[in-house]
Symmetry: C2
Subunit: 496 residues, 2 copies
Amino acid sequence: MAQTMPNFLRKRAYLTPERPAISYFNQQLSFRELYDRSLQVAGSLAALGVKKRSLTGVLVKNSLESAVFLYALQLLGSTAVMLNNRLSAAELSFQLSDAKAEFLIYEHTFKDLAYEASGKVSKVKMFPLEDLAGGDVTDVPIEQELSLDDVCTIMYTSGTTGNPKGVLQTYGNHFWSASASALNLGLSQDDTWLCSVPIFHISGFSILMRSVIYGMHIVLHSHFDAKKSLEDIEAKKVTIMSVVGTTLTRIVDELGDGRLPEHFRCMLLGGGPAPLPLLEACRSRNIPVFQTYGMTETASQSVTLAPEYSLEKLGSAGKPLFPVSLKIELQDGREAAEGEAGEILLKGPNVTPGYLNRPEETAKKIVDGWLHTGDIGFLDEEGFLYVLDRRSDLIISGGENIYPAEIESVLLSHPGVKEAGVTGLPNSEWGQVPAAFVVLVEEAGPSADELRHYCQEKLAKYKVPREFYFAKELPRNASNKLLRRKLAELIEEAGK
Amino acid sequence: MAQTMPNFLRKRAYLTPERPAISYFNQQLSFRELYDRSLQVAGSLAALGVKKRSLTGVLVKNSLESAVFLYALQLLGSTAVMLNNRLSAAELSFQLSDAKAEFLIYEHTFKDLAYEASGKVSKVKMFPLEDLAGGDVTDVPIEQELSLDDVCTIMYTSGTTGNPKGVLQTYGNHFWSASASALNLGLSQDDTWLCSVPIFHISGFSILMRSVIYGMHIVLHSHFDAKKSLEDIEAKKVTIMSVVGTTLTRIVDELGDGRLPEHFRCMLLGGGPAPLPLLEACRSRNIPVFQTYGMTETASQSVTLAPEYSLEKLGSAGKPLFPVSLKIELQDGREAAEGEAGEILLKGPNVTPGYLNRPEETAKKIVDGWLHTGDIGFLDEEGFLYVLDRRSDLIISGGENIYPAEIESVLLSHPGVKEAGVTGLPNSEWGQVPAAFVVLVEEAGPSADELRHYCQEKLAKYKVPREFYFAKELPRNASNKLLRRKLAELIEEAGK
C-alpha cells in the first residue's frame, strides 16, 4: 500500500492558518486565505471537468494567480503539466500532445501562443487563468488525502535524443526533496524564501511546495530583478533566495560595496557550476552561497555544500542530501576511485519514478533505483562532489537548460542542411549561448539568416543559435559520433 | 520496491564528520568519532554472530557506551529489542522469549537481572556491553543501505489484555518522525538536545535517531537530575529538552525565580496531559513548553502544539504533525463532531506496521492505516486536540506507562485473589501511582504485605501498587466489565 499523507495545502491551512504564506508585489495571503482562494479556483476547475488525475497543461508566468491555481490543482489531485512559457508554439504543441493533456489553462498574455500550440492538439480544452477566480466552494471534490506515489507535476526535459520527455514528479518526490533540504539548510519560523526563478521550472515550483510543507512565507517575483531583489530582502526580511550564476552576478553588481542584511542566511545557487571569480566576489561581500546540484529528475537540489564547508571547498557542489546516495560510475560500469571522473549517479526518494509513457527510456536512465544523470564529475578524498560537465553537452544559458540535440534536429529537418552540430559559447551576460555548426547539402544553400528564421519558427527564442558557422565537415569520433566539444575549434577555420 | 536510504550514521559521519554528535559527562564525540567507535563495536558484534535482522535484546542504561552500541546495531542492520531496565526478571524473560531474541547484550550492573531473565529463555546468547569495545574494524559487514521497511527497534507495551506486545518500529517510522518533528519545531545548526529520558523508551531513543538524521549535538544524561539539567542547559548551550510532567515540575522548583537562558527554545513535554498550574508556572518563568502527544506505536510525538499557540491553547496537545492525520471516532464508528469526545485515531508514515508476531492484534488495532490509540479526546472548533483520558485507563507515573491490566493479571494469579482492579491515584511527586483493589476468595486471605511481596517478585518496582484496598465487590457495568475509574470511590468504604 502506497504511503498516504494529508493534502498538503489543506493540512497547512489547518496547522498554521494565520502565518503569512505568499507575498506578491503589495498583496499578501495567509495560509488560510491561500487555501480559501485555491478552493474557489478548485471549484471553477471542477465545474470545467478537471478532476483527480486529469492531466492539465499549465501555461502561466510567476504571479499570485498562478500560484493559487497550481495549489488548486493539488486540492483536486489533478496532475499539472508545467509548460515553459518561453517555448515556441511547436514545442508546446509537442508537449501537450505527448502528455495527452486534457486541459490547457493559460495566462491571458499567452492566449495567442496557447491557441497556436493547441491548434495541432486534438481535444485539449482551453481556459484562461483569469476566468477561474471566484468559483463555487460548495461540494468541491477536495482530495483529503494524497498518495505519495501520485504524480503531482510533469516537467519536460530533453536529452541526448533531442526528444523532450515528461519527467514524473510525485508528491513523495516533492515532500522528500523539501524535507531533505530542510535537514541540510535548517528551518526556522522566521524563514522567508524569495522566488524569482520561474515556477514552471523545478527551481521555482519546489519553493511553492516548500512553502506549504514548511509553513514558510515566500516572496514571489514576476521575474528576476536585482534591484527589486535587494529591496525585498531588506523590506520583507527574506532569509533564503534561489539564484543561478547570471542572476547572482547581477545581484553582486547591484550590491556594489554594500552588504546583505544579517537576517539573510542562504543564497542557494543552482543551474550549473559557478565561476570562481563570482564565488570569490560573494565571499568578500559576505554573501552566504550554498552551491547545489540537482535537476528536474530529482525534484530540485540533491547535492548541496553544507554551510561549514562553503569557503573551504569553493567550487564544489558539496555532498548528497541526507536521504540521497551518490556514486561516480566509469564507462565500464565500475565505481570510480577518489578523484577519478565519471558519470554521476543519484539514488533516493526524491528521484523521479520515470518518464511519462516511456518505459524504455525510463529503464535505460534509472537502473536499480540509480538515476544516470549523464553529467560528469568526481568526488574528492573527503567525498565532496565536483561537477565537471553537464549532461549531454548541456548548454545552460541564464539558468535555462538547452540541449544541443534538440536544436540540431530542427536544423537537420531543413532540406538544405546535411549535418548540424550545436555547442555553447561563453557569454558574459548569460554564461553560455548556443552556436550552430552546419554542413550544407550544396554550397549555395540557405544563409545564416534563413536558418535563424527557420529556427525561430520552431524553437524558443533562447534556444535559437546566436551564431551560425558553416563547415565542410564536423568533428566526429571513430564510430562517427559527433564530438560537440570540438565544434568550437572550427570557428577559426570556418567562414561565418 | 521498498524505499531505501543510506545507512543513517554512516551517511551522517560522511556529511558532517566534525560536528559534535554526543556529549556524556565530560566526554564528547564528533560524528566521525561516533562512527569509528560504533564501527569497532559492530566489529565485535559481528564476530559474536550478530548480523542483519538478528534480534538483539538490549538491557542498558543511558550512557555513551549504550548509545554507541545502539548505533553499532544499526550499522549491522540488526534489530534492537529495547528492554526497560526497571522491569523484573520475569517481565524481561517474557519479552526475550516472546521476541525470540537471539542475543542479549547487558550493561554490567544488570548482570544478575540478565542472567535471571535469560535463565528461562532457551538459546539466548548473552554478552556484557563492556566487552564490545575495540573490535576489529576490517571487513565489518556494514549495511551501506537500509530499507525504510526494515525493523530498527522493537519496544514492548502492554494494553487492555495485559500481555505486553512488541511494537515494530521501522527505519522509516523513525525517519518520518524525525523529519515531521523538524517541520514543526524547526531545525538549526545550533540546536543541542538534552536527553535525560531513558533511551530504551521511544522518548529517549527518538533523540538518538534525530541526532544522526539532523546532524545534531545531543547531551546525554545517565538519569534526570534537575540541577544538572539546568547546569548543562547553560554550559552546553542546550536548546531543546524532552521532559514529562514530574521532571518539568522539578526543573521549575529548582529554577525558583530564575530564568532559562535565551538560547533555550523548546521544552518538549510528553507523557500525558500536564496539570494547568505547572503550565502556568512555566509561562510565568518564560519556559517555552511544547505539549506533545505520542506513543511507542507512533515512534514518539505525533501531535504538538505549534509555538504560536502555546499560550492561547494552554492544556491542548496541539495539532497532528504535517504528515500525520488524526480523527476522533465515536463508539458506533462515526467521526465525532467538534467538541465531542471519542477515541483518538492516528494515521501516518510514523505509525508502526504492527506488533511482532501478532497479526490478529495488529489487525484489530490498525484498520485501513488508522491506529486506534484507545485514548479519549476531542478536537475544539479550530482542530486542537485535547486528550481527556489515556488509553486503557493507563497510569503514567514519572513518565513510565503502567497498564492496570498487567498488574491485575499478576494479582489474579495469586490463589487467594478472586477479583482485582488497579487504578492510578494522584501523587504530587510522580503524577500518579498505582493502587490495587482486591476481592479475596476467603476473608482470611493474603494480607496487603503478602500481595505486595507477591507483586514485587513479578513486576518492575514502579508498577507495584503503593496501596492495597480490600473490597467485597468491584464496580462493574451491565456487561460485567470492570469500571476502573470508579475504583477510587471504594477507598472511603473499603478497609485498608
